[in-house]
Symmetry: none
C-alpha cells in the first residue's frame, strides 16, 4: 500500500463504519512491513487516542509483522494460542490439506489479547488494550476484513461511541471562489459549532467547484437531521442561487431535473471543451429524454456548416468571442429544435493564446426560448483544468438561466 | 481526506517522486483539520525519520491549521512574512482584485522556515528542520502541489538520497484481460526478478485498460534503463500489438502521433458515449491539428439529419447495431471530409436494455480511406464504466487500424 500505484480502500470502509456509529476518525496511516515503524506508530498512539484499528500484516510469512510490533508496543510477550492453532489446522484439514508449518505464526497472540474469529481466512483478528487505548488488529484482504469489521463494530465498538449519531450533508456551490464562500459562511459555522446540536463545516475546493461538508452530531438521529436542515437553510439565505444542491446532486443532475420538469430539451455546441460538456450532461441516467444532440466543432468549417456561424463573424471577432459563442448556441438550438442551446468557444492551451486572448479565455452563451446569457471567462491552469472549469461554468450558467427563467 | 468518500492522490505522486530519487517512504498519514492531532503526528516524527512532507491546510481559512500545528511542534512562533504577503497581494492585483483580508494568513511563516514559491496559487510552500528531521509543507491542490514537488525534489531532496537509482516504466496494454496479460507475462517477470539488475513488475487493471509498472533498481542509472529496455522488448514480443505504449503515453496520444505523421484528420459520431470519445481525443495538446469535428447524436433525428443514417436502417436493425455504427462512421467521415471516421452506438444503461441487447451492448465502427472495422462489445458495469470501456475500445480499434493500415 506504500507503492505509488495502490489505493487504500480498507480505510475508507472503516471510516464509514466508525462514523456511522458516531466515532470520529482523527487520522489514518499507511505503513510498510517495518516492525520498528509500526511499533513507533502504535506506541505513540497509546494513551493519545481511544481506538486504533490496524489492518494487514497478519499473514503467515516473514513480512507479516503486525502482531510482533503491537506486542512490543504494548510491552507484552507473544504466545502461541493452541485453540487458534487448532482452528487454523482444522481449516486446512477441511480442504484435505495439512497445515504448513509457517501458518503456526498466525496462532501467535499478544498476552491478554482477545481473539476475533475470521470466517473467511486463517488469520484471526485480535482485540487488546494498552494505556487506555483499544487496539484492534484485522486481516488485510477486504473480503476477510469487511465481515469481521461489521461484527466488531456492531458488537463491541458501538458501546464505546456513547450512542452519538453522526449525520453528514454535502452542499455544492458554483460560481463563487473559496474565499468568497468562506467569508460569507464563516459567521454561520462559527455559530453552528457552539449550537445545541453542534454542526461542523468543512470547505472543499476542487476545479471550478466548492463543496461544504456539514456534519451534525446528536444523541438522536432526528435531532442531527433537524440541525442540518436549519444549517442548509441559513446557507441558502447567505449564498443565494450559488447553492447548486444540498443533497450532493451534481450540476448536471440538477439541470436534468429542471429540464424534465419543464419538458424541455437541450443541445450543445462546443469547441475548446471538445465534447466534455455533452459527456457531462449525458452522465445523468435518463438524460436521453432531454439531451437532443451535441456538436464538437473544432474546425471553423464545422461551426459554419452545422451551426450557421457566418465566416465573416469569425473573421471579424475571432473564433473565441462572445458573438461566435452566441451564434453557436443559437445555431445548435435552431438546428436541433431544442428549447435550450449552449455555445462554448475558447483557448484550452497550451498553445493558441495571444496577449489579448490568453490561454484560458472562454466565451460561453446559453440561449433559451426566453433569454440569452453570454459571458467571457479567464481560467487559470493547464488544458485539462481549463476544459473542466469551462464545463462547470457552462453548466452553472445553464442552471442559473433555468432557475431565474 | 478523512471522509469515507475521498481518495488521496497526492501521496501517490509524492511516493513516486521520492522513490525515483531513491528515498524510501516508511509511512503516510491522513489527518483532519485538527491542530492538536497534526502537532502530535509531526512532533512524534521529529528525530525519528529523515523527512516529513505535509500537503494541504495552507489555505486562507480557519480550517487551514497546518502552519500553526507545525510551528507548535517545532516550538517556534509564526510570523507574517511581508515578502510573501506582497506576492499574494500581487497575484490578486494581476486579476484586478483586491486581496481579501483572510488571505494574509497565508503569509504566516514559522520562524526560520524557508519559503518555496508556488507559481499556481497563493499558498507558498515551507521548508524547515527540527531535531534533524526536514519538514516540508506543500499546498493541497494537486495542480499547485505537483509542480512545486518537482522543483523541491530535483533541487533539494535528491541531495538527501543515497546512491541506488530506481527507474520506472509504465507499459500500457489494451484489448486483453488482466488474467490474459498475467498468464502471458508471468514467466517473464519471474525471470526478471532474479536478473543481474532485478526488475519488479506490478500489474494494474483499471476500467478498459491494463498497465504494467516496471521498476529497476541499480547503482547506475544507465544499468537500470538498459534492464528496462530489455524487459519492454520481451513484453512486446509476447503481447504483440496489444502494447499501446512503453513510455506511459495514452491511447489518444498514440493515435494523435500517428495521425500527425500521416497528415490525416479524424471525426467522430457518438451516441452512448455522449461526447466522451471526442473529449478524450481533444485532451491531447495540439489535437486541433487533426480532430475535425464530433457529433453527439443522442436522438435518432440527429443521426439521420447530420450523418445521413437512413431512418429505415434504424427501424430495421435498431439504433444499436453494426450497420448503424458503420453508417455513423461513414456519415461523419463524409460530411467532415476527414480521413478517419468513428461511429459508436450502444446502451450505457441503467435503462434501455433488452434480452437481445442488454445494457453494455456497444457497436463500434472505424472507417478510413482504405479499411472498415466493425465490432460489437458487451461491457459490464454501470453507466460510467460502460462509457469508459466503449471509449477505450473505440480508441484501441482506431489505433490498431492505424498500425495495420
Amino acid at each position: 500500500m506504500l507503492t505509488p500505484f495502490r489505493v487504500d480502500t480498507n480505510s475508507l470502509l472503516i471510516t464509514e463504519h466508525l462514523e456511522d456509529i458516531g466515532l470520529l476518525v482523527t487520522s489514518k496511516t499507511t505503513v510498510g512491513d517495518d516492525v520498528a515503524e509500526i511499533r513507533r506508530l502504535i506506541g505513540d498512539a497509546l494513551g493519545s487516542v481511544d481506538l486504533v484499528i490496524c489492518t494487514g500484516g497478519l499473514g503467515p510469512t516473514e513480512d507479516d509483522v503486525t502482531r510482533e510490533a503491537v506486542a512490543s508496543a504494548l510491552g507484552v510477550p507473544l504466545e502461541i494460542d493452541e485453540a487458534v492453532a487448532e482452528r487454523i489446522r482444522e481449516r486446512f484439514r477441511s480442504r484435505g490439506l495439512p497445515m504448513p508449518e509457517i501458518n503456526r505464526r498466525q496462532a501467535l497472540v499478544p498476552r491478554g489479547a482477545q481473539v476475533l474469529d475470521n470466517a473467511n481466512g486463517t488469520a484471526p483478528g485480535l482485540w487488546m488494550t494498552g494505556r487506555g487505548t483499544v487496539v484492534v488488529l484485522l486481516p488485510g484482504p477486504p473480503r476477510e476484513m469487511a465481515p469481521m469489521l461489521e461484527t466488531v463494530v456492531r458488537d463491541r465498538l458501538r458501546a464505546m461511541s456513547g450512542g452519538t449519531k453522526l449525520v453528514r450533508r454535502t452542499v455544492r456551490i458554483a460560481g463563487r471562489s473559496e474565499s468568497e464562500v468562506d467569508t460569507l459562511a464563516k459567521p454561520l459555522y462559527e455559530r453552528w459549532r457552539v449550537g445545541f446540536v453542534p454542526v461542523e463545516a468543512t470547505i472543499l475546493a476542487s476545479v471550478g467547484q466548492i463543496e461544504l461538508h456539514l456534519t451534525a452530531r446528536a444523541e438522536r438521529h432526528a435531532d442531527a437531521e433537524r440541525a442540518l436542515e436549519a444549517a442548509v437553510r441559513e446557507l441558502e439565505e447567505v449564498l443565494g442561487s450559488s447553492v447548486v444542491s444540498a443533497d450532493g446532486r451534481t450540476l448536471e443532475a440538477v439541470i436534468g431535473s429542471m429540464l424534465r420538469e419543464l419538458g424541455w430539451t437541450i443541445a450543445v455546441a462546443e469547441s475548446c471543451t471538445g465534447g466534455l460538456l455533452a459527456s457531462r450532461l449525458t452522465d445523468v441516467p435518463g438524460s436521453s429524454a432531454y439531451v437532443e444532440r451535441g456538436a464538437v466543432c473544432y474546425s471553423n468549417r464545422a461551426k459554419t456548416e452545422w451551426l450557421g456561424v457566418p465566416e465573416s463573424m469569425i473573421a471579424r471577432h475571432g473564433a473565441v468571442s462572445e458573438p461566435v459563442a452566441k451564434a453557436m448556441a443559437e445555431g445548435i438550438r435552431t438546428v436541433s429544435r431544442s428549447n435550450v442551446g449552449i455555445g462554448v468557444t475558447g483557448i484550452a492551451g497550451p498553445d493558441g493564446g495571444t496577449a489579448e486572448k490568453p490561454v484560458g479565455t472562454v466565451a460561453i452563451a446559453v440561449v433559451s426560448d426566453y433569454t440569452t446569457r453570454v459571458r467571457t471567462f479567464k481560467f487559470l491552469g493547464n488544458r485539462e483544468h481549463v476544459k473542466e472549469q469551462a464545463v462547470k461554468a457552462a453548466l452553472d450558467l445553464t442552471r442559473l438561466m433555468l432557475v431565474e427563467r
